[in-house]
């Protein structure tokens, strides 16, 4: 991702184009160039996204146990099984709670970080990198660190050591679901992993807010700080915020890695994907029911995304600002 710092919105893109001789070969055919550039991506998309989706669709109408090339057609049985399955339906509830919490929190934290980093006079690049780095860490690796060193249930776990100084008993963070400390572990891991990436998006957007707006606001008597932030910065970030929320929502729907590693063998705190994994796709190998569940989930994600786009005016272009 480039985090370009161009401020001059009015500058036409071609103003400084070099007068060099145009290279004929590449400009030969617009159609050819179109396929040249989109082709590899489209092929990947077709092989790794659309084929599996269609295959799932096909599988979901069959009894596909221990095979992905089944022959016993069962109609909508798999769908009935998944939709009447309390655990699967319950996991959709889990997701809602999780999303309702993680989306605003991540949004606020990354915006906060972006504002802080954007304010820095020196070492900005350093801090930007420091906050961005966790994005490059794998969810699995992070979960293991969280599970085994920070939130380990024994006395020498980091959190228990710290709490021990204040005389608090050891807490089995991930084992005992009452009280549900596991959410603290999951949310903190996810915040640490995700915030940096969205911070970069916010920094890019912040740097695109024209200084003139702040000057004008200041002349009109807006106090720097909260008032300026509320009336200038936040509205200007609306488009970015919408996109960030959308991405966060999809990411929350797709939550799997850290849940799987932190909450293995539980019946609680399972997002839909994990439920699918345990109910059908993992060790049970019931690929028919699993595919049905996956498709139900896909439809849900699409519906929610479209609805959110409608509500927040995403993708409507300039006039939505």
């Amino acid at each position: 991702m480039s985090t370009t710092t161009t401020r001059d919105l009015a500058r036409p893109a071609t103003a400084k184009a070099s007068p060099a001789k145009p290279r004929r070969g590449l400009r030969g055919s617009a159609t050819f160039n179109f396929w040249l550039f989109t082709g590899p991506f489209l092929i990947g998309l077709a092989i790794f996204v659309y084929t599996p989706i269609l295959w799932s669709l096909w599988l979901s109408f069959f009894e596909a146990r221990f095979t992905v090339t089944p022959d016993k057609f069962v109609g909508f049985d798999n769908y009935t099984y998944m939709l009447t399955n309390d655990d699967f339906v319950g996991s959709l509830g889990t997701f809602t709670v999780f999303a309702a919490f993680i989306v605003p929190t991540t949004w606020a934290l990354s915006l906060g970080l972006a504002l802080l980093v954007n304010r820095l006079r020196f070492m900005r690049a350093f801090f930007r990198s420091v906050f961005f780095l966790p994005t490059a860490v794998s969810y699995v690796a992070a979960s293991l660190i969280w599970k085994m060193s920070i939130f380990s249930g024994v006395r020498f776990g980091l959190m228990n050591t710290v709490l021990g100084w204040f005389g608090v008993e050891n807490i089995p963070w991930l084992i005992d679901p009452n009280p549900p400390w596991y959410w603290l572990v999951i949310v903190s891991a996810r915040l640490w992993l995700q915030s940096g990436f969205y911070m970069i998006l916010f920094i890019a957007a912040l740097q695109n807010i024209p200084d003139e707006l702040y000057e004008a606001a200041s002349i009109d008597g807006a106090k720097p700080g909260w008032q300026t932030f509320w009336y200038i910065t936040l509205p200007q970030l609306r488009a970015t915020s919408t996109a960030v929320i959308l991405l966060l929502l999809v990411a929350a729907y797709q939550a799997f890695d850290e849940f799987f590693n932190l909450l293995s063998k539980t019946t609680w705190g399972r997002p839909p994907l994990m439920e699918l994994y345990y109910k059908a796709l993992g060790e049970s190998q019931d690929y028919g029911a699993g595919s049905a569940g996956a498709l139900i989930l896909t439809v849900l994600i699409c519906a929610v995304t479209l609805l959110q786009g409608k509500l927040m005016g995403f993708g409507r272009g300039d006039e939505s600002k």
Partner: protein
């Protein structure tokens, strides 16, 4: 990329951002080592093992494979926690191993995933522990070769029990009492694993029940089991259990490092425990869940199977026969040189001197006296159903009856698909 110079997000920009996100994680998934080497002389076979915890095991398995002359055998060594999923998913593909270790489960036979090994086992059938033959037999055909038997029981620190004036428990109530007395500031009384799932079956057996009965019907849903679950819940909330330990219960580290006084583990851990604790340890079977029950030991273990869909079924069978039936030296090495396991071959078990004395001999006695073997009709989906019962009613406070009813639905669905 000038798209970001304008703060308007259109669909394309979002897509690009999403791709950026995906790229940070997605790349790790690329590339896989199937362990299949191209070239080399003769046939190539791939064998899949879960990662044994003891030092030297991986080298040993590779050393045996290397000694085999008729095929070039490569080894996939899979981290324990991922083994089942990795095995099951790779069995669907062309990269499936030709030979793999697992436990006997009937769904693999019904779905034609494992090959019939009757012709290689039959000639030496009488030299195997009859229970190990029975647990691998469906309709008169034998589908796997048992490599090792692994009884599971409790390990305890003698000195700690003496200090707390606790006798070796023979009932679950006594075990709970012992856990309470043994818990001090730094040491928890008892470790059953972080999810407690390893004691599910022993708890059922010790309550006088079973997973399935002879007719393959549910046999675990009894009053004794309900009482057992309630007791386990009490134990879980007592604060006397070690929870959230860094290692799972198959690894003896928690006991060795003094995190707990009693730990549920398996025979394999004996050499490690001996090294760490000297003679300050003993073993006992899972105590009686209810007074009418009987102490029990789960005789787990691992068996070799041949992938029925492999291109080299015959070669794979030859290899399994060579290593796990003919090469008794390797079998003994495998059973006693790393972790301790009981050889399923009676002739080997008789001569395995390391299992003749001390706690190892006691382990063999418990195995013979209290042991319950795998039931081939008890499959992964059913195992998961009972794990859910423990999660719901022991770690959470759901009514055990309700949790068991829920498991019944799942288990019956499986039974119906498997046995009609």
């Amino acid at each position: 990329m000038s798209a970001l110079s304008n703060s308007n997000w259109d669909r394309r920009t979002v897509l690009r951002a999403a791709m950026g996100l995906a790229a940070t994680g997605g790349l790790a998934a690329c590339g896989s080592n199937t362990g299949r080497s191209s070239g080399g002389s003769g046939k190539s076979l791939v064998q899949m093992f879960h990662a044994y915890g003891e030092a030297g095991t991986e080298q040993a398995i590779k050393r045996y494979a290397k000694a085999y002359k008729d095929a070039n055998v490569t080894t996939q060594w899979i981290t324990s926690a991922d083994f089942e999923s990795k095995l099951f998913s790779s069995l669907l593909t062309k990269n499936a191993p030709d030979v793999f270790e697992f436990h006997p489960q009937i769904q693999m036979i019904k779905s034609g995933q494992v090959a019939d090994l009757t012709d290689i086992v039959e000639p030496v059938k009488d030299d195997f522990n009859p229970a190990d033959i029975k647990s691998h037999t469906v309709d008169g055909k034998i589908y796997g070769v048992r490599m090792i038997d692994d009884p599971q029981f409790f390990f305890y620190r003698k000195s700690m029990l003496e200090k707390a004036k606790v006798d070796v428990p023979t009932t679950l109530d006594e075990l709970m009492e012992a856990a309470d007395k043994l818990t001090t500031g730094k040491v928890k009384g008892l470790y059953l694993g972080n999810d407690l799932h390893n004691v599910i079956n022993p708890m059922i057996w010790s309550a006088g029940a079973d997973t399935l009965n002879e007719k393959n019907e549910i046999a675990y849903h009894t009053d004794g089991v309900v009482e057992g679950i309630k007791k386990m819940r009490k134990l879980f909330t007592s604060g006397n259990l070690l929870l959230g330990a860094p290692t799972e219960s198959w690894d003896p580290s928690s006991l060795n490092q003094g995190l707990c006084a009693i730990q549920f583990c398996g025979m394999w851990a004996m050499p490690q425990i001996q090294d760490a604790l000297g003679d300050d340890w003993g073993i006992f079977p899972f105590p009686k869940t209810v007074d009418s029950g009987k102490q029990s030991v789960y005789n787990g273990g691992w068996s070799m199977f041949v992938n029925a869909k492999s291109k080299n079924v015959e070669a794979a069978k030859e290899y399994v026969k060579w290593l796990w039936i003919d090469q008794k030296k390797y079998q003994e090495d495998w059973a006693t040189s790393y972790g301790f396991h009981i050889p399923p071959r009676t002739s080997l078990a008789k001569t395995a001197t390391k299992l003749k004395s001390g706690n190892a001999a006691e382990g063999v006695r418990l195995f013979n006296e209290f042991g319950h073997f795998d039931n081939i009709g008890w499959t992964q989906a059913m195992i998961t159903a009972l794990e859910d019962v423990f999660a719901n009613s022991v770690r959470k406070s759901m009514d055990p009856e309700k949790a068991l009813d829920k498991a019944d639905v799942a288990v019956n669905r499986e039974l119906k698909k498997l046995f009609g």
